[in-house]
Subunit: 386 residues, 2 copies
């Protein structure tokens, strides 16, 4: 590798007092990465970071992945134009990694892969979604992307009014389908919270609930009976993500859409969900997070896999709520993208100056991921890396 | 937590020129941990380390697990005698960890949990296997444990004679069933290597082969046909560890024993293997590694799970090849333990002065894991921690 290549990685806190049904975010961190190299005399910066939920992964990036890049023959890393190719780099930094065990390593690779794709699209002076459309999607892309805010968390003293106020704020920002956490309180209490939410969003088709894998099968079935009549947009992570068989049983009993996958981390996990999870290709949603699951590079395999199983890629809505997920949704035409207008700032959310209208948003026109077009995020990144 | 509690963690290289079918070990590292605290005026040291194969995990231990211990109420961590209870500590340091994603985090917890158990058994002044026998196995235990050396790696210039010499050395040490790597060369070449190995061990029932998840289903089936007539002790990791369905198909076609599980990392993965993997309770082997899979604390759940599925715990032979796996095998009466007489030193292998006879070994009589009774390992640990 050329000695003009440089990587920096920093742990950044995204802690907050919010809770889902299983964890508190009061110690949450992510890794933020900058790669930089000279291309045709111009300094290219690529930025990447983990999605929320699984903590910083600096050790894996610094001690395992980067040395393999640094020690690699440059020709194994670049494309025909001499640009660092994210897919080739991925193959190099994943050498000497054993099969199985898709967890923190997948998160580390997700953050690093994001930085490689950002730099790559900047080298070609195109927005990432455009590159994806041209190289992997026969020039097809979406002009506007379905987005929903991953909100409705529990926090101290929030109450029904707090939830309603939060939801009204999302509506004011142009969101239509909204999501709230469940499973962190009694069913009775959660149903009251759902009623409060419905008083704002109007009907079940505008509301998702997310149990964050809190329930066992009996609890998930009980909860599903209590909410079945609402006909919600989706019932998310009702069960342990790896308990595929219980998903199959739930899907036989609960008719409205189910969503899961944010805690699967690889195509291997997804393959098992599709084989054994009994999900329904006409209604259910798959939420693997590219920034937590070996990156966009691996997400290209995820898309191939869902299509192998006869599913439409429109059933994929990546978790993560950031510019990477949005670029993927636009350029590869998935079903949409999560969004974090209120939490995990400044990493959650999208570029400035792109309005949400009726729950849809346009992807950015600027090259790369568009990190520089989200001013609070770019300010943070300049603060981190100087 | 009491301020007399202290944790130290160091990355230690166990690199070597050996290869399996998928990775080289030329950059392999592990985390080595010492916890220490005063109990009844006596300083207790507990030592733990990762098994080989998945690299050091200091960041997860230092930044996620240890702060949760340090910040915890002491009463949540100790048993009725005021001794740090490994199971209670586990529940504390796994707080705020999301479900799913069982990989590096499981390795980090495995190393830390080992240190807690070592200190715990020392506090009670008993060998760990004795504690396990008393607390979790109705005072039953095994006086001698089946062990086999995880050897037969590929390395440059080894040749058939190198393999035979290695195997003869294992036999001289008292081992009977030996294991070699396959899948790293052509089938023809591997069959010649197997013939060379058989010329030393005599019959197929004394030989295991390990493909380290190198094959897809077609390749695994092809290889299985080529070796079926040898009737080997086992055919290990023929397939990707998470591809359960392919295991089920292989198990219908290949009659002799199959072994897998070292890259599953949790009871969740094992549950899927037992549900969907088609393995046979009368002959197949499950090799989850406690030191890579959330520790002995989680392995207690693993044992419960195999018995829920109607399997005998004798079908479990933990991967890892160290004092933890041996103590588990003795005190919880699994089917045996891997051993590393030649590789991953000084962490692989067992206490000095315990001879292997006809492939069996006695567990140590000294308190704890018996780390201090393996002199090269204890020398290394003193070198690391001073």
């Amino acid at each position: 590798m050329d000695n003009r290549f440089k990587t920096e990685i920093v742990t950044c806190s995204i802690k907050s007092p919010i809770r889902n049904a299983v964890i508190s975010f009061n110690e949450m961190t992510i890794s933020v990465i900058r790669i930089s190299y000279l291309y045709l005399g111009k300094l290219l910066n690529g930025y990447g970071f983990c999605s929320n939920g699984r903590y910083a992964q600096n050790e894996i990036v610094l001690n395992r992945f980067i040395p393999r890049i640094i020690n690699s023959d440059l020709n194994l890393l670049i494309d025909e134009n001499g640009i660092l190719d994210p897919v080739k780099c991925w193959s190099v930094y994943m050498q000497n990694e054993k099969p199985g065990g898709h967890g923190d390593r997948a998160v580390a690779a997700g953050a690093l892969d994001m930085a490689f794709w950002d730099a790559y699209a900047k080298a070609y002076e195109k927005p990432l979604w455009k590159i994806l459309s041209e190289q992997f999607n026969q020039n097809q892309s979406d002009e506007k992307i379905f987005v929903y805010p991953g909100g409705g968390y529990y926090y101290p003293g929030k109450g029904y009014q707090g939830l309603k106020d939060e939801f009204k704020k999302y509506q004011d920002h142009g969101y239509k389908v909204l999501k709230m956490k469940v499973g962190g309180d009694s069913i009775d209490e959660d149903l009251k919270r759902i009623d409060a939410a419905l008083s704002v969003v109007g009907k079940g088709k505008n509301l998702c609930v997310d149990a964050n894998a809190r329930f066992d099968l009996t609890e998930a079935l009980t909860f599903s009976k209590a909410i079945q009549h609402y006909n919600l947009f989706w019932y998310e992570e009702p069960l342990d993500p790896d308990d595929f068989l219980s998903h199959a049983i739930l899907a036989e009993k609960y008719n409205p859409p189910i969503a899961t996958g944010e805690n699967l981390f690889s195509k291997h996990g997804l393959q098992n969900l599709l084989r054994h999870g009994g999900l329904r290709p006409d209604r259910d949603w798959i939420q693997l997070d590219p920034a937590l699951s070996y990156g966009l590079t691996h997400y290209l395999e995820v898309i191939k896999l869902v299509e192998t199983f006869g599913w439409s890629r429109r059933r994929l809505i990546p978790h993560g709520g950031h510019q990477l997920a949005l670029n993927i949704a636009a350029g590869l035409q998935t079903g949409g993208s999560e969004s974090y207008p209120g939490v995990f700032q400044p990493f959650g959310g999208f570029a400035d100056n792109y309005e949400i209208e009726e729950g849809f948003i346009r992807p950015q026109e600027e090259p790369g991921l568009g990190i520089e077009e989200k001013s609070d995020l770019y300010d943070k990144i300049k603060e981190i890396f100087g």
